[in-house]
């Protein structure tokens, strides 16, 4: 638990998140229009999405299934009876004049997420609820000098609002929670988690208090669209609140925006928060009633989730909790790793994937999906280490070439003549040569400076251009100098 040091003592920050995750579905929540990202403005709008007179919403069963799947993945209670409500307010990108949402009776109830922190500890974050709702369209204020343009492509797209308990106590925990949630959604296939495209956005509730005291007044920072910004916004906001309180002020419960350019949060205009949404059950829609057998069938079809996968990696592959955590965070990484270990040593594979491959990909700005080194190719390289064809050091050289050229390890080893020398005669000849050239050092060793053996190993490896098997060199030198 990290504390904020104030002038008058320590403060604890309390954080809860409301995450809006776009449901992965071909069609919108209540219409058949496409949800594909990046289309020309107003090309994916049905009469329903545009709220033409007389149009009625019809629930998309796929979206309900995705919400239930997500609920199950969050270890949450599935409510077999839930209700859609209208949240009424006027805005040009809200064609109906109301958003269809779930207010008092959401489809998913309480659940929990286990969040792993960098120091190896874990924290449980409670999920309060998950409900389905429509996204609004987009107001474009920069297309015309005096007018606002409206793009309704997003209007009616299904969102899951996932509300957490105020269980987080640092920006790091909030960031880790968001990353974990994103990971779970991606494993489940219920949200692509693409924050750049707006598929996931967070409203961040922040308050501060003296340790052990009751919750302070919170501020809600709206619509933050990256994990990094969430963390920055919390850092700034918590410090701001501490400063206000220590100056004898009070915190107003308000909605704020995070200005990513200046790194500050700012209160939104009070006019916008004065909404009375006049929620009431949408009379165009019947309550959502789920068949328990249908829910059970979805439960049976859930994929292995990050926590389960992590436990399996630790148990089956003997990985450290940290390595396992890094590998399972992204589904694609975990899949890649599993392909590598199909033929390669698990621990070595973990090191290679995490350190060499991720490092190289990062540097190249590429993702695992377009890695120039395939899982099979990486496994091929690792196998050559374990069968002593090459040393770990040479392997790094080979990997670099593989990454640049996409060639398999064996071809590179062959081409460049990097194969490890394991011929005792050849190594012995090099050992003898080095011994003969350094009589004074030999004398030192014999006089008791055993550590100089290492220097001899280095010389022999140098003479072999790194290709001699280091263990054999070591053994031979010991036999000849100490034996």
């Amino acid at each position: 638990m990290s504390m904020i040091q104030g002038a008058t003592g320590d403060w604890e920050v309390v954080i809860g998140l409301e995450v809006h995750a776009q449901v992965s579905s071909k069609a919108k929540l209540f219409s058949g229009a496409s949800t594909e990202f990046g289309a020309e403005p107003n090309t994916q709008v049905s009469f329903i999405d545009a709220a033409m007179p007389g149009m009625l919403p019809v629930i998309n069963g796929k979206c309900v299934e995705q919400a239930v799947r997500t609920g199950l993945g969050l270890n949450a209670k599935i409510n077999l009876y839930s209700v859609f409500d209208r949240k009424n307010y006027f805005y040009p990108d809200l064609p109906q004049g109301y958003q269809i949402s779930q207010y008092l009776q959401p489809v998913v109830g309480e659940g929990r997420v286990t969040v792993d922190l960098a120091d190896g500890s874990a924290r449980e974050v409670g999920i309060t609820r998950l409900h389905l709702e429509q996204d609004a369209g987009k107001s474009l204020h920069d297309q015309h000098p005096s007018m606002t343009m409206v793009d309704l492509n997003r209007s009616g797209v299904a969102l899951m609002e996932i509300v957490s308990e105020p269980d987080m106590r640092s920006s790091e925990e909030a960031g880790a929670y968001l990353a974990k949630l994103r990971s779970i959604l991606r494993y489940l296939g219920t949200c692509d988690g693409n924050m750049q495209e707006g598929s996931m956005r967070a409203d961040v509730n922040v308050s501060v208090r003296r340790p052990g005291e009751a919750f302070g007044t919170r501020c809600e920072i709206k619509n933050v669209n990256s994990i990094r910004f969430v963390k920055q916004a919390i850092e700034y906001e918590a410090r701001r609140q501490v400063d206000v309180l220590e100056d004898g002020g009070t915190i107003d419960q308000e909605t704020r925006l995070y200005d990513t350019d200046r790194g500050v949060t700012r209160a939104m205009r009070t006019k916008e928060e004065a909404h009375d949404y006049r929620y009431f059950p949408d009379p165009d829609l019947l309550p959502l009633e789920l068949d328990p057998n249908w829910v059970e069938a979805i439960k049976q079809s859930l994929p292995e989730l990050p926590d389960q996968k992590k436990a399996r990696f630790e148990k089956d592959f003997g990985l450290s909790p940290y390595d396992a955590d890094v590998l399972v965070a992204e589904k694609e990484n975990a899949e890649f790793y599993e392909q590598v270990v199909a033929t390669a040593d698990p621990k070595l594979a973990a090191n290679w994937v995490i350190t060499e491959l991720f490092g190289a990909l990062n540097k190249a700005g590429r993702g695992i999906d377009d890695s120039p080194v395939s899982a099979e190719a990486l496994a091929g390289l690792i196998v050559r280490i374990t069968d002593n064809t090459i040393s770990g050091r040479i392997a790094k050289e080979v990997f670099e070439i593989m990454f640049e050229t996409g060639k398999p390890a064996d071809a590179i080893i062959e081409e460049k003549g990097l194969k490890q020398v394991t011929d005792t005669g050849a190594i012995e000849a090099m050992v003898d040569e080095v011994i003969a050239a350094n009589p004074d050092k030999v004398a030192d060793v014999k006089a008791g400076k055993d550590k100089l053996i290492g220097w001899f190993v280095g010389q022999v490896m140098k003479a072999s251009q790194g290709k001699a098997n280091p263990q054999m060199v070591n053994d031979l030198l010991k036999a000849k100098l100490l034996g």
């Binding site: 009469f47 545009a50 709220a51 033409m52 007179p53 007389g54 149009m55 009625l56 919403p57 019809v58 629930i59 209208r86 009424n88 006027f90 040009p92 064609p95 109906q96 004049g97 109301y98 606002t148 409206v150 009375d276 006049r278 929620y279 009431f280 949408d282 009379p283 165009d284 829609l285 019947l286």
Partner: protein, 493 residues
């Protein structure tokens, strides 16, 4: 050919089937009648070209051996139904110039059944009104007038244009929609048959919404048989309306056996209201006698929560309306009155686009849903609605159908009640309870008031038991022998 416009739908069907008349001839006669009846202001938009094209297509279908249940029948369409390519106004200024690129399910069903569209019928703005005086396109005049009195009479509302068209013999039938009585009350005022089906029987898709949990399309015709025929052409499950019910559409006409012996008819004592005009009371008694004479068993029953129905309705319906009408904001279609900023544009557009009654209801609805008032009004109203529905459920354990007056009075003069919203709302007192419970109800013309204007009696049935309602209505109709018709004072040629 005046004779053609006097036909019932059933008679027209027989003549069309026998080849005695073509759909084109029938349609031409009605187009001429519509034109001649413009002083009634029953239509907002006339669509004669389209009617002729549909009629010709209908004749062609008939020649090739196909005929739907409404084949070749010219009808009026309440201007609440969206009709592809035809101006649809909902009687409101705010939908100026709105031509839907889609068709409502009910009208699509009618066209599939062979019906011909004469035009779009005038109505109270957004179906809010009981006199058709709230229409932006001006009031509709009831074809009926008090004998020896030239003053204009309202046709009731909100389906005022539809009942006027049917009563004036300028359409064989017309669609209406009923939220709290908007089919039944005007039917009573204009001496025609108006059927509000069970909620969920006819699709609401493409019908401009007033109060979603109450709105229900239905037929307005001159006879009970015609109502049965036309309902069959309108009804059916619609996957585009989540509140539509997937149950087969029966041949309603087959239910008109005329046999109601042993049928139990409930007379709810709570409908005998203080200050009820004697003529209404007398007509109701007469109705009881007619049904008794036909072999029905009469039972006095109680619907204890009846008195809460009207106030409850005037919470629920405006609440839903306030939200349903939020989409008319000047942004995407219809009227836009510019302003200096967004809020001003909204305010200007909605102030100019909505009439007084619509604004009143939007404000009532907004109020009852507001934080701090929701529990006291909306939530309590929903609870009462459940109790009202339970009253009917209990009653229907021992009876098959209810008989009540349709409206507390005959039609009144234009302008007589338009300044008194409460007096206007009281028009719905007998029709609203069935609406709140989602039950089918029909108004059958049963007699004339002392001032010579028509009066109707209402029958209310079990959910999805339109057949019993129609059967009893048929008996009532036969007994009442309502053969009076309005004098043609409007004819311009």
């Amino acid at each position: 050919m005046a004779g053609l416009t006097d036909l019932t739908i059933a008679e027209a069907r027989d003549k069309l089937t026998a080849g005695e008349v073509s759909a084109r001839e029938l349609t031409e006669a009605h187009i001429a009648a519509v034109e001649a009846a413009r002083p009634l202001n029953a239509f907002i938009t006339e669509t004669p070209e389209r009617a002729l094209a549909q009629a010709e297509a209908s004749d062609a279908r008939r020649r090739s051996g196909e005929a739907g249940v409404m084949e070749g029948v010219p009808v009026g369409i309440k201007d609440l139904f969206c009709t592809k390519g035809v101006l649809t106004t909902a009687g409101s200024h705010i939908l100026d110039g709105f031509v839907p690129p889609y068709e409502s399910t009910v009208t699509a069903n009618l066209w599939k059944a062979g019906a011909v569209m004469l035009g779009k019928c005038n109505m109270d703005e957004f179906a809010m009104g009981s006199s058709n005086e709230t229409s932006y396109y001006g009031p509709v005049e009831n074809p009926w007038r008090r004998p020896g009195d030239n003053r204009s009479i309202v046709p009731g509302g909100s389906s005022g244009g539809s009942v006027a068209a049917v009563a004036a013999r300028i359409a064989l039938g017309a669609t209406g929609t009923d939220t709290g009585g908007s089919i039944r009350q005007p039917a009573s005022f204009a001496g025609v048959v108006g059927l509000k089906p069970t909620y969920g029987r006819c699709s609401r898709f493409g019908a401009v919404a007033f109060a979603s949990s109450l709105d229900q399309p239905g037929p307005i015709t001159r006879t009970v048989r015609d109502a049965a025929i036309m309902l069959r052409g309108m009804a059916g499950f619609d996957p585009m309306d989540s509140t539509s019910v997937d149950t087969p559409v029966p041949d309603y006409e087959a239910a008109l056996t005329g046999d109601i012996s042993g049928l139990k008819v409930g007379i709810p004592k709570e409908y005998r209201m203080d200050g009820m005009p004697a003529e209404i009371e007398a007509l109701w008694k007469q109705g009881i006698e007619w049904l008794k004479a036909a072999g029905a068993e009469i039972r006095d029953i109680s619907l204890p929560h009846t008195k809460y129905a009207l106030p409850t309705y005037y919470i629920v319906a405006p609440a839903e309306a306030s939200s349903n009408l939020a989409r008319y904001d000047g942004v995407r279609y219809g009227l836009r009155i510019p302003g200096n900023d967004l809020t001003e544009m909204y305010e200007n557009t909605r102030a100019e686009g909505f009439g007084t009654e619509v604004q009143r209801r939007v404000m009532i609805g907004t109020y009852v849903l507001s934080a701090g008032y929701y529990d006291a009004y909306y939530l309590k109203a929903q609870k009462l609605r459940t109790l009202i529905a339970r009253d009917f459920e209990t009653a229907f354990e021992e009876i098959d159908v209810l008989l009540t007056p349709t409206a507390p009075s005959a039609a009144f003069g234009v302008g007589e009640k338009s300044d008194d919203p409460i007096a206007m709302y009281l028009n719905d007192v007998f029709t609203v309870p069935a609406s709140m419970a989602g039950l089918p109800g029909i108004s059958v013309p049963a007699g004339l008031a002392d001032d010579g204007l028509p009066l109707g009696l209402q029958l209310i049935g079990r959910a999805f038991d339109e057949e019993t309602v129609l059967r009893v209505a048929g008996v009532l109709e036969e007994a009442a022998v309502f053969d009076r018709r309005p004098e043609n004072w409007w004819a311009t040629k």
